[in-house]
């Protein structure tokens, strides 16, 4: 059995909402092994996005522990969370979230800018990441000059550039046609084959079928955990 990269135990997230408390996650226990290719699924409001935010260290749990690569990250400082996001996690969003005024290469360079600004290989690494998503010829295009699929591939290159151990994709195909979407999922799958843990949050059962494991959420609980 491979080593668990993510270990959640009793993970709870409550939101105060107009005097009432919404229980977005109710004591989740989940282990994700290094190199897994998995989907987190469920209808909207099931807690999957909240889980994604906590996994991505954009948010902190109300209770429970989250262990990422043997480090308890449930209650660490904002600064440390930023460091981990930068070094261990790559994000892919539904809306691509590229900087509109920067070209593809600069977008890919962005994560390196904050930790290794003087790295002479910065440009090279960004180009290499673009090569991995087959976009080296679009390096100097602005996002507005790229198609949705190309923009998402730039975002994937950006997620890859710091050699993360975990890639979190939040509805990565939501803004794409199904053919392009499939290509993106295949691309993500190829990284899993290289040993990177890939977690996709989606409500698209088709995507779920492409992955090796599906965790289905409902009302803050894990409803099913299927491995194929």
């Amino acid at each position: 059995m491979s080593q668990a990269i993510i270990q959640l135990s009793g993970l709870t997230k409550d939101y105060p909402m107009g005097g009432e408390t919404v229980h977005a996650l109710c004591g989740i226990d989940l282990a994700i092994q290094a190199g897994e290719f998995m989907a987190i699924m469920g209808p909207s409001g099931s807690g999957k996005s909240t889980l994604m935010h906590i996994l991505g260290l954009l948010d902190t749990p109300t209770a429970g522990t989250y262990t990422l690569e043997d480090e308890d990250v449930s209650a660490i400082s904002r600064e440390r969370r930023a460091d981990i996001r930068n070094q261990k996690i790559g994000f892919i969003f539904q809306g691509f979230n590229l900087l509109a005024r920067s070209n593809a290469l600069e977008n890919v360079e962005l994560p390196m800018l904050y930790r290794r600004p003087s790295d002479p290989q910065r440009k090279e690494k960004a180009k290499e990441a673009l090569r991995m998503v087959n976009l080296e010829d679009r390096a100097f295009h602005q996002p507005s000059q790229l198609s949705g699929g190309q923009q998402q591939r730039v975002a994937i290159a950006r997620a890859l550039v710091n050699d993360p151990s975990l890639i979190l994709a939040d509805e990565p195909t939501g803004n794409l046609d199904s053919k392009t979407g499939q290509e993106i999922i295949q691309l993500l799958g190829s990284f899993h084959e290289k040993g990177i843990t890939v977690v996709i949050v989606t409500h698209d059962a088709g995507i779920g079928q492409s992955t090796n494991r599906r965790v289905i959420f409902r009302d803050g609980f894990i409803e099913r955990d299927e491995v194929s």
Partner: protein
């Protein structure tokens, strides 16, 4: 270094993305800094003009006047009691190390007669050193009298330019002419360059100079032998003026046998009073300038803060993206601070250029002296950058404190 370059490039790019808005934002700083530069150059120019006038009165000069007479409680004022003597002046020259040059002077009103006309003026009986004490004062024609003239009691006269202009025709050479002072014939050996009027309107050129000994023997009789109205002293340097004053006072008290608690029978004046007056004027000017600068820069700074707040709101999503890929609070803070500082700094540069041009224009059109100095330019640009940091801090901090999830969701 690369980090800062990249951040700077981002800031410039953000500025260029909204050119008109950035320019309008900078306008407050441009006007503020421009006003500061104009006021500094005009103020410095005026101050330099005043200072030049003071220096014109004589370099490092001390003026020693004899004491006032007192008769039945009526005090006569400076020079009414003849207490200063030639020997005092000579002793000062001999015994006061801080003193460079000594001269002395006796004066009286006279009527002078040229072959053609006559003119009422003052005669100064003095020594050749007078010219040195009065500072750099060239002759228009001929030369000043010499130590030999003084020793011999020669009947030679040097005319002030106003006197020469009044008793001789324009273009006529004055040197070599004979004139009469109190019926005594004198040969004109020089004419002074025009010095102009003192700040109180007295014409410094309406005077004639004659060796002291000649005045004593030929024009005053021997009523008060060796008496002078005034001793002029030039100190070794500007710094030694106070020291010279102390030495002179000590020496004269000794020579005049004044008891420790008694009043001096003489008065020593320096040009410090004038200099102090000028400093006061400059101080007022500086205060005014500072107030204007502070108000305009504050207004400019608030403009920058306002636009930066708008910018932070508009770019919430961008901030969210940056945070998601690992930007720390301080990275975001620095980015927005650099942006506001760049904006105000560039505004400051524009303002400096504008201020210099305006100051030059004032100089040319109004014939008003202006001095543009490097330090005022440096001060202005540094200050504009400081305004950017100060007023950019609040918006930048607001940006850095955003919640990444909220920021990413922002439409």
């Amino acid at each position: 270094m690369d980090y800062w370059l990249t951040v700077l490039r981002l800031a410039v790019r953000a500025m260029l993305a909204y050119k008109v808005r950035s320019l309008l934002t900078m306008l407050g700083i441009i006007i503020g800094i421009g006003a500061v530069i104009i006021m500094i150059s005009v103020g410095r120019g005026a101050n330099a003009a005043i200072q030049a006038q003071i220096n014109d009165l004589g370099s490092n000069m001390l003026m020693i006047f004899s004491g006032s007479s007192k008769a039945g409680g009526v005090r006569g004022g400076f020079g009414t009691r003849p207490t200063l003597r030639v020997k005092d002046a000579e002793a000062i020259g001999r015994e006061c190390p801080a003193v460079k040059v000594v001269t002395y002077l006796i004066s009286r009103n006279v009527q002078i007669v040229s072959p053609k006309t006559n003119w009422g003026t003052q005669v100064y009986g003095t020594t050749p050193e007078y010219m040195e004490v009065r500072g750099d004062w060239p002759l228009r024609e001929g030369q000043f009298f010499t130590a030999q003239h003084l020793k011999a009691g020669a009947s030679v006269v040097v005319l002030g330019s106003s006197v020469a202009d009044n008793i001789f025709d324009p273009g006529q050479a004055a040197v070599g002419q004979m004139i009469r002072i109190q019926n005594v014939p004198f040969r004109v050996i020089g004419v002074m360059e025009t010095k102009g009027r003192t700040p109180d309107g007295r014409d410094q050129d309406d005077v004639v100079y004659v060796p002291y000994t000649t005045v004593q023997s030929r024009l005053m009789g021997t009523r008060l032998p060796g008496v002078v109205y005034y001793i002029g002293v030039s100190a070794q340097s500007k710094e030694l003026v106070a020291e010279a004053k102390r030495e002179v006072e000590e020496l004269l008290r000794q020579r005049h046998r004044i008891l420790p608690n008694a009043d001096d029978d003489f008065t020593v004046r320096t040009l410090d009073e004038f200099a102090a007056m000028a400093d006061k004027a400059t101080g007022t000017m500086t205060l005014l300038l500072t107030a204007v600068a502070a108000v305009s820069l504050a207004v400019g700074g608030i403009g920058i803060m306002n636009i930066m707040l708008v910018s932070v709101t508009e770019r919430t999503r961008e901030i969210g993206i940056r945070m998601a890929v690992g930007a720390r609070e301080r990275d975001v803070l620095i980015q927005f601070l650099v942006e506001s500082t760049t904006m105000s700094f560039i505004g400051g540069l524009f303002g400096t250029v504008m201020g210099i041009s305006a100051a030059k224009a004032i100089s040319a059109v109004a014939n008003w002296p202006t001095i543009i100095s490097v330090d005022s330019i440096l001060l202005a640009t540094l200050f504009s950058a400081a305004v950017g940091i100060f007023f950019g801090f609040y918006p930048a901090r607001k940006a850095s404190r955003l919640d990444p999830i909220e920021a990413l969701r922002y439409e």
